[in-house]
């Protein structure tokens, strides 16, 4: 200060006074009255304590004023504050962590929630994809263990349950509060709390984890998970059965933060008294309440299979039913078209088909054609009343059964008249004639065109006998030798004739006619011819033809067998011929 005044002093001030004296004089004249105040001001500036006090008075306002003007203050303080925080953490990180804990959680949560939500969505998708395989696996497990599928699902991922929540004083391991879900069996929570803390200490020490923030977060034993939520003073282990969603951790975290906030004073002076923590119980209960999360169950593949099976079964049933219906209709159509079968009732009752009506015993058996219609006879009940069908083929078939005609007979029905053609024995014809007319559907029996084989036979024998000639020597009553065989055959045939006529209810007699040639007198010839006839008759009787009707007559030469042109003709005329007379009525024996 003195330097700037130096030039002035050399120009305008008395030379006998020193410049300093003069200056002091002037100063006292000008600021004399304020001297004391200036002194005080100087002292306040020079004294750090006073100066600090003065600044402290205006510092908040100054900071506000400057902060509103620009950001230089923040920039200036930045490095200092960073250093302060660093030092604080270095000194005791617990203090800062404890102070920030109640506010850090919500802030971090908010930031994390959004990311987490996105992550959850993709996780959900992944889970859903894996569900089908898991579902199958769990079903197998359910079958294997005998548990219900619901139980297995409950024990796996779809449902979780927070069974117990502990509030433990971190340092002492003492249990402050404990809540458990309904019907959860638990043992002494005090001891468990101690052991949980001990295990945490054990793990941390055993694996050389020095830092206090190295803490157990999860203990997993089989289906049970223990999530240990850590706070500065408290820990909140929660025993969870099943797989809990990650967001549940936020519930625990929030509960712990709230308890810390509320109980900060109590915790600071904690001496083992757990009573004050009674008020924190409801926070723990909240942790229990957020337990059940039933995931919307997708329709399981097994249900699909079951549904599919039901649909297939119904489809099959419908198809079979329709097919059976069609088959039944076809069957009925077929049966109705059959001759000799009259369906009076048909349908379905109690799951079985039934059919009833009239049936000619000769008609097709309706049950026998069931397999043709692909029907199981067990599924069809039938009842048939017998009747006679009057269709010609049935009448003929019936007639054939009753009359039993030989193969040589052919039967034909024309206007209710049964025509028999061909040939048959006399007996069959006679019986058929009697029976035929009582067969239903037959009014008459026409056998005129039927050859009676017995009559034919009779005629044949008759003709044969009548063609025989026994020759005689001239004027002799003895036959020419060598005709014995003819006589024997004759006798045999006559016996046949006799039997046949008896069978046919006819009568016959044999006319034995003696002949002579035209030589000699007629009178003599007549006698000779008579003798010849008598002789043959006697021979035949000797051959066994007793009891037959015959008549031996001599006709002389009047009925010559041929004209006598030569000796051979005369020889021919010298003989005996036969004539058979058949009658239907019994005849009296000839003379």
């Amino acid at each position: 200060m003195s330097d700037p005044h130096t030039p002035n002093n050399s120009k305008g001030l008395p030379k006998d006074d020193t410049p300093d004296d003069q200056l002091a004089e002037i100063r006292s004249l000008i600021i004399g009255p304020n001297q004391a105040q200036l002194g005080k001001l100087q002292e306040r500036l020079d004294n750090p304590e006073l100066f600090a006090r003065d600044i402290s008075r205006v510092l908040p306002e100054a900071v506000i004023l400057r902060s509103s003007q620009d950001k230089k203050l923040a920039t200036a303080l930045m490095s200092t504050i960073e250093e302060v925080v660093r030092s604080s953490i270095k000194k005791d990180r617990g203090t800062l962590v404890g102070a920030l804990f109640p506010v850090m959680g919500p802030a971090i949560r908010k930031a994390v929630t959004e990311t987490f939500t996105k992550m959850l969505q993709s996780l959900n998708q992944a889970l859903e994809k894996s569900l089908s395989l898991d579902g199958l696996k769990w079903r197998l497990e359910a079958i294997r263990t005998g548990k219900t599928f619901a139980e297995v699902v409950l024990l796996h991922s779809l449902v979780y349950r927070v069974e117990q929540v502990f509030l433990i004083h971190k340092e002492t391991g003492l249990l402050l509060q404990h809540v458990a879900g309904e019907e959860v069996a638990f043992r002494d929570a005090d001891m468990i709390s101690g052991m949980l803390t001990a295990i945490q200490d054990f793990v941390r020490d055993s694996f050389g984890m020095q830092k206090s923030e190295d803490e157990i977060e999860t203990i997993q034993i089989g289906e049970l998970t223990i999530w240990v939520t850590q706070g500065p003073e408290l820990i909140l282990p929660a025993a969870i059965r099943g797989t809990a969603p990650e967001e549940l951790k936020l519930v625990f975290q929030e509960a712990l933060e709230n308890i810390h906030l509320e109980q900060s004073d109590t915790l600071e002076s904690f001496d083992g008294d757990t009573a004050p923590f009674e008020t924190s119980r409801h926070y723990l209960k909240i942790c229990l309440q957020a337990q059940y999360k039933t995931k919307k169950q997708k329709l399981s593949p097994f249900l699909w299979i079951l549904l599919g099976a039901i649909i297939i079964a119904l489809g099959s049933w419908g198809f079979c039913s329709a097919r059976n219906h069609l088959r039944w209709a076809n069957y009925l159509k077929k049966i109705n078209s059959e001759r000799g079968v009259i369906v009076t009732d048909a349908g379905k009752r109690d799951g079985k088909y039934f059919i009833s009506g009239l049936r000619d015993p000769l008609a097709t058996d309706p049950m026998a054609v069931l397999p043709d219609s692909k029907f199981d006879s067990e599924n069809v009940i039938s009842h048939w009343e017998p009747y006679y069908a009057l269709h010609p083929e049935f009448i003929i078939a019936r007639a054939k059964i009753i009359l039993n005609p030989p193969e040589t007979v052919r039967l034909e029905l024309i206007n209710n008249v049964l025509h028999a053609t061909g040939s048959a024995s006399h007996q069959w014809i006679a019986e058929a004639y009697k029976i035929a007319r009582v067969i239903p559907g037959i009014a008459q029996f026409h056998e005129k065109n039927l050859i009676d084989t017995d009559i034919s036979h009779l005629t044949t024998i008759k003709n044969w006998i009548e063609n025989q000639r026994l020759r005689f020597a001239v004027n002799s009553i003895n036959p020419v030798p060598g005709q014995n065989d003819t006589l024997r055959t004759l006798a045999k045939e006559i016996r046949k004739l006799q039997a046949l006529t008896q069978f046919l209810d006819k009568r016959f007699y044999i006319k034995i006619i003696g002949h002579t040639d035209q030589s000699g007198s007629e009178k003599k010839n007549l006698a000779l011819s008579q003798e010849r006839a008598n002789f043959v008759a006697s021979v035949l009787i000797i051959e066994g033809l007793k009891g037959i009707n015959y008549k031996a007559v001599g006709v002389g030469s009047s009925e010559s067998l041929c004209e006598e042109m030569a000796e051979k003709h005369r020889e021919f005329n010298r003989g005996v011929s036969f004539n058979i007379i058949l009658t239907d009525r019994p005849t009296t024996k000839g003379d």
């Binding site: 004083h169 971190k170 340092e171 002492t172 391991g173 003492l174 249990l175 043992r187 002494d188 005090d190 001891m191 468990i192 709390s193 101690g194 052991m195 803390t197 001990a198 295990i199 200490d201 054990f202 941390r204 020490d205 055993s206 001496d271 083992g272 008294d273 757990t274 009573a275």
Partner: protein, 166 residues
């Protein structure tokens, strides 16, 4: 309800576990001692009109505390220091342990010294001098017997009284 964490401390085979077995509620087996190195039991005490739950940390016996075992002591309100009256060495160990504990906590932690195995008094080999020195240091000592249970209840009561009163 007051809860206090206390520890059972002492040399190997001085009878810590046996001593308290009959007097505490227990759900954990002794194998915890050999695996985790600690077993937690509970002892409920009625002191006047106050109920106190003692959470008893039975530490696996060792002749010297290592770091692992010290960590189990964290948060304890007091401890029972157990000595086998027939083995003077265990008293030395106990003295050492007490020192270590005080160092660990940086303050004097309430404790009661239990001179165990009174049933074998005729085999006791503790030196009177050592005992006298400890008494001079105002150590609280009690004689106990694991077999008869003599002195055990009193030990718990005494420790609790000290902890609450201290």
């Amino acid at each position: 309800m007051i809860q206090k964490k206390i520890c059972m401390v002492g040399a190997f085979a001085v009878g810590k576990t046996t001593l308290v077995t009959r007097f505490v509620q227990s759900i954990f087996s002794d194998k915890y001692l050999t695996t985790v190195g600690v077993k937690i039991d509970k002892k409920s005490i009625a002191l006047g009109d106050r109920d106190v739950n003692l959470i008893l940390w039975d530490l696996a016996g060792d002749d010297s505390f290592n770091k692992v075992r010290m960590s189990y002591l964290r948060g304890a309100s007091g401890y029972l220091l157990v000595v086998d009256g027939t083995r003077p060495i265990t008293l030395d160990t106990a003295i050492g342990l007490q020192k270590s504990v005080d160092e660990f906590f940086g303050k004097g932690l309430p404790f009661v010294l239990l001179l165990n195995k009174t049933d074998l008094t005729n085999e006791w080999k503790l030196e009177e001098e050592t005992i006298g020195a400890l008494l001079e240091k105002r150590w609280i000592m009690m004689k106990t017997c694991a077999k008869t249970g003599e002195g055990v209840e009193e030990a718990f009561l005494t420790l609790t009284r000290i902890m609450l009163g201290g």
